[in-house]
Structure formats: C-alpha cells, structure tokens
Assembly symmetry: C2
Homo-oligomer: 419 residues x 2
C-alpha cells in the first residue's frame, strides 16, 4: 500500500488523558483511535494487526478441532437468571438496556449461558460429543476503571472457545491440547518467551484454573515465576502448600508484574446443570455435559505486544503480526530517478507477494519519514535514496537492530525472506 | 469438512414463533440460531456464508479505494447531540445504557457521527482528500417489530462506507463508482437479475438517494419497476413529475414488493457542518468536507438470497456464496467399499483445493441424507452409492437442476470446475 493513500497520519502526542504506553504508541502511530476510556476504534493499520492475530488464533483453534460460530451481543436475561449471573450484586460489569417493549436485556460480557442454552438443540447423545465451538466476537464490560489502553476495555474483542465433553477425562485431555495451542499462539505472536502458564484459582470443579501471564511492568496482575521450569503462580493462590504441591521452591520464585493474555478454565457442570444441557450415554443414562472455557483477547494481545516490544522510538512488531512485512522509505522522492527506483522496488515486492507499505509521500522530510517508520514498527525497512542509487542498492535495516546493510537490488527479495 | 464432525443438525421444524421463510430455512438447515426476535447467532455453516459475502463486499470496496477500519458500538452522546440525533424524539431505534459513572451512552445504529468526529484528526488540507473508509461491523436498532428474520435485525452486521470529498463533483463521481461496485456485489451474490437501482427520497443535499431493491414477495418495501431500463422508483417518491423526470412511462412500471439490500446517500455537509469537519483548499480557504454514505447488510443479503433462491426442499446457494463448493453424499457408508470410495473422493477434492462437505454419517438413511443435502443447498452434489460404484462413477447433480448425471471418477474435478 502506498503511504500517501493511507488516511491516517502519525501524531507527535497522544491524547492528554491517555496514560497507557500501549495506547499512546498505537494512537500516535495511527493504529487505533480513542472513542472514550476503554473504547478504541481500529484504524487500517490496527485492523491489519488485529486480523493477523485473529488468523493465528483461528488456525490454532481449528487445528485442535474448534468450529467457529458467532454469538450475539444482546442477551436474554432468562438464561442468566438460571445460572445466577444476571443480578448486579453477583456481576458488576453488566451493561443493560431494554427492548422497545420494556423487556430487560444485557450486553454479553461472556457467553457460557448463551452457548450452553443453544447446544441443547445439538447435543442429546454421547454420539454428539465432544463439541469444541469458538467465536471471535466483541464483548462489553462496564469497567469502573479503564486506564490501561487495550488491556482493559469496556468494549473489546475476545476469542472464546467452549468445550463440551462426556467425561472429566475427555475434558482434561482437551484442556491440555488447548494449553499447548495457546503456547503456540503466544510464540507466533512474539511473546512466547515472556509468557508463563500460571496457576490461578479454580472453581467448584477444579482446584486450579490456568492463566497465561506475560511479564510486563504495565501488568495489573502479580505472579511468582519459576523461569527455569517455565511455571508461574498467581499471587491470589500463592501459599506454601501450593508451592510444595507444584514442586517449586519459594526461594527461586521471582515476583513479577504481568498481563493476563489468556485463560483456560474447567467449568465442569457449572453451566450444564442449571441450563439443563445433558446427554444420554452408551448405557442409556442421562448425564450432564462436562464443559470448559478458553479465552484470549486479540486486542489485549496487541496491547501486550506493544508494551513488551517497543523502544523509545516506537513499536517493533513481530513478523507474523506486523501490518506489513516490509516498509519502503523513499528519501528525496521529488527526484525523478529516486521516484522511479522506489516505484520499481515497490512493484517488484508486490509482484513477489510481499505485503509492503511504501512511503511515497512527497511533503515529508527524510527525518520525518524515518521517525514515522520507527514509530509504526514494521520489522524490515528498505531505504531508497540518492546514496543507495549510487551503488544500485537499497539500504535494509531491521527495526529490532541498530545497523543497516546495503543490499543489491537483485538480492532484495532473498534478503527479505531470510531477514 | 466431514459432516459427522459438524455439531449442527438439520431440524424438521423451525421455532413456532419464526414466521419469516429465510429464518425458517436457515434455522432448519443449521445456519443460524434465534436468540430472540431480530437477534440471530451464526452457526458454522452460516458463518461461512457470511464470510463469503463479506469477502465479496470487501474486494469490491477495496477496488474503488476503500480503506477498512472498525469503529465501536459504544457511542458518546456528545457527537450525536451536535448532529441532533441523540434525542429519542428524533431517533426511535436507540438502545441506550450507562457507564458505571452514570454517563449516558448509546449503541451505534449507524456511524456518521463517530467517523466524522474521528476524521477531524486526519483531514485538514485538500491534500488529505478524498478518503473512502468502511467497516463491516455489528449495529443495533431497537426495532419495535422484528419479524422478518435476517431482514430486520435488532442486532445485525453492516458494511458502511463513508466518503469524504473536496467538492460535489468529486462526491458525484465516487457515488457512481460505488453504485457500479454495488451492482457487481449483487451479481456475485446471485441476485443481480432481481435487484434494481431505485430512486428514493434524498435529503437537503440531493433530490434523490438510491436504494438497491431486490424483488421479493417477502419484501417490506414497494417499488415500481421498469424492467427494460432496469430502474425502479420507491413508492415513497412516486409522482407523475418524478416518472417524467426519469424518462419513464407510468404504464410500463410494475408494482413489486422488494427488499432493500443496499443504499447510497449523498450527505453533503449534513454531518461535516455540525461536527466541524473542514479542510483548507488550494487557495487557503476553509471549506466543509462533502460526505456520502453507502450501506449493505451482509446478513440481510444472506436472508434475501434465501428468500429469492430456495424451493420447497430448501436453499439453493449461488456458487460464490455457498458454505462449501461441493457436497459429497455417501449412501450405504456402512459398506466398506463405499466408505473407501467416498473417503478417496473426499481426499481427491480436498487435495485439489475444492471446499467440500462430506456426509460421512453412518446413522442416517439415504432419504435423510438426500433431504439434508437439499435443505442445506450446496450447489453441486456428488452421490457415492453401490450403484455408482458399479460403473466406477459418481452421480453429480446441481441443486438448481432436476437431473443427475453419472461422471467417471477420473473426470470429477473437471466436471465440478465446469458445472
């Protein structure tokens, strides 16, 4: 895409009321727009990143048997009364409104109730199980405090998968498969190294749930990490007993602030019981369906990547997440020779299927263009200038590295592929 | 995909309170689920159709210079007060709710206000124009009456594009380009023949707007159609004067019920004036930005296709919209030879990149399987049975046609491609 066509512009300053680094950088670079606290629009660059993250998540969920669907925001209170989560004394994040008829409805902040009620139509027999169904959908939570940018939204996108199994053993096996899929997702998203499977509080049906916590000074959680064993314990469940049970040593645990980038939870019959989701087993007995839930917020993940992978100049996108693979920056583009060389480089990369942002703007100085490229954070930058033309080369620099190298035009594609 | 893995099942009956044919068929075939009146979830088959329609729309919007973004549901009342559309005496479809702080917010039923307010950051000079920005996003309208299935939702997905131009002439040119793109979209979606560009009421800035009306007995609109000139007039603007102005003849106009599948509207400065979106032109004068808006509802489009393209047995999907290209129906799959032949046909098509649903269910009779295939409506059906094995063939039948033909296994892929 030609940058002259992109309607967004970089900004020197983020809004004065924006205190989170992730939102400051993403707003300044033109990825998101703040509509109100905790409510952000995705602009073209941001939507590309979001789409890349959703593709990673979708591929990994499909690989473990997930079937994608799309549930609704508007929620009928009946199902939520059955599970005892409608009342605001039980759940304090509801947004509620009314139909024209006066009937109360809520905006979905999670979807256990809706999907459990729906599955009664499709699950009756042991032959109908297991089912793993997920969606990537917008959720609403009426957070009193929403000052962490994309990390704590009042309106935010979630991937939520729900598993429906015959037995606890089947649930346990899928739970492990999903945990492994989550590890692959965070690795592909560039935060595998800093993300730990973390023991957190369970419920009536399991002693623990698991969170995936990414170590970050911007985190709102506190975890205790064993870096060697790659396990962490959420502060809320940290006791000597738990440390002993997990075979860890108090002295080697390091306290860290962290961001919860995913969680997996064994629900058991918490929802299938009150909502009446059961199946008939091989011997004709009626049994409740055993459920689990598995969440990742792609927007929060984007914010976490920015918190973890940025420097004073801007963002440093991991390759698979970046809005474009390559950023061509043409310096002195008013010169016809430089314009031609830049255009033909852009055409060459585009023809080779390399997704490229091309800074073809004429009204910007070299300094402004290079600063914008650093702020936007595409991993590979190619500069075309009078100097590079002299040697029939382009200057290639990785965003994450300090030094640039000259690459001959004929070798550019190979250099990008192996960068 | 193997049908034994698909969690949805077909149903003999739609819910008793569902009166719209499109929703009845889509629910019975397992494409959607009714959450409440006017609120439908998309199940795996339905989400595939929705994705195909969104891809068509996205490709055509990108081809005319559209840049995709994603605005938010939660709406700050300030911008809407400026345009005088916050008050419920002016707009009767609002869903409103409150932040925890008590601040009123609304759920977006359209996005002129939000995008106009946002564009003030990115449009200052004539050099920043034009901008064509669109989203595919969920909207909310508190409809008192929502009995038309996917055609009138309280929660529904819209593609809404907004154009920002320097002059009325630039707006007019883009408006025509978008009208042409809409014609391509409806043609690709299989309803080009029955869809007419329709003159409808304009606003302060243009005498007419245009709707794209698909002729259907299920329609809530009434239009007068000149089938030869492929033009229609909405009943609401039908006068002798308008007929004469458009060069039509009252006697050749046919009254038809119709579904509005798209609309395009010249907004002029209706929103840029109250929201203060202006630009500085080449001679240094400050001018208001000239806007247009362009909507298509992918869900309503899905419903319209079902209303238009179905028979007593079920849906007949157009090729580019269908959830799968081919439906393999294996009859007598308990027989090992038939199972093997069916499996290898499925593998052959999948390897060839043909998106295939494979009815490998063992517990269903031949009659049930064929009825399900007709209900689901994939355009090409391949039956494998004892009879077809005898001649080393498969039986190929188009959903839209009555007769089947035997195709030798080696010729199947060519036959599908040319079907």
């Amino acid at each position: 895409m030609k940058q002259s066509q992109l309607f967004t512009k970089t900004r020197k300053e983020a809004p004065a009321d924006e205190v989170a680094k992730n939102a400051q950088l993403l707003i300044r670079a033109g990825f998101i727009n703040k509509e109100m606290a905790g409510v952000y629009s995705y602009l073209p660059l941001g939507l590309r990143v979001l789409g890349n993250l959703e593709t990673i998540i979708r591929e990994e969920m499909n690989a473990i048997g997930g079937q994608e669907l799309l549930l609704t925001t508007l929620q009928d209170k009946e199902s939520w009364e059955k599970s005892d989560r409608w009342d605001e004394s039980k759940v304090d994040v509801w947004f509620k409104t009314k139909l024209a008829s006066g009937t109360d409805i809520g905006l979905g902040w999670t979807h256990e109730e809706a999907i459990t009620a729906m599955m009664r139509q499709y699950i009756q027999s042991y032959r109908d199980l297991p089912v793993y169904a997920y969606q990537i959908q917008t959720k609403f939570r009426n957070e009193a405090r929403a000052k962490s940018g994309l990390m704590r939204g009042r309106e935010f996108i979630m991937k939520d998968l729900y598993s429906f199994s015959r037995t606890q053993e089947d649930l346990d096996a899928f739970y492990e498969a999903c945990a492994k899929a989550y590890e692959r997702i965070f690795a592909r998203a560039g935060i595998g190294e800093i993300t730990y499977r973390t023991f957190a509080s369970g419920g009536a049906f399991s002693k623990y749930s698991h969170e995936f916590q990414a170590i970050s000074a911007a985190g709102e959680d506190v975890v205790y990490v064993d870096k060697e064993k790659r396990i962490a314990i959420n502060k809320e469940v940290l006791t000597d007993e738990v440390i002993a049970e997990l075979g860890l040593n108090k002295d080697t645990l390091v306290e860290e602030k962290s961001i919860e980038v995913g969680n997996i939870f064994k629900l058991g019959t918490r929802f299938s019981d009150p909502l009446g989701l059961s199946y008939v087993n091989e011997t004709g007995e009626t049994k409740p369906v055993i459920m689990g839930s598995y969440g990742i917020g792609p927007g929060r993940l984007m914010g976490t990547i920015v918190e973890a992978l940025s420097d004073a100049k801007g963002i440093i996108w991991p390759r698979e997440v970046s809005p474009f693979e390559v950023h061509i920056v043409s310096l002195g583009i008013d010169n016809e020779e430089i314009r031609k060389a830049s255009d033909s480089l852009y055409e060459m990369l585009t023809s080779a299927g390399i997704d490229t942002l091309y800074d073809d703007r004429t009204e910007k100085s070299a300094g402004e263009k290079l600063a914008d490229a650093d702020l936007i954070g595409i991993p590979v930058r190619l500069v075309v200038s009078a100097r590079t033309l002299e040697s029939a080369s382009v200057e290639m620099k990785k965003r994450a590295e300090a030094d640039a190298v000259l690459v001959r035009a004929a070798d550019v594609i190979v250099a990008i592929k192996t960068a």
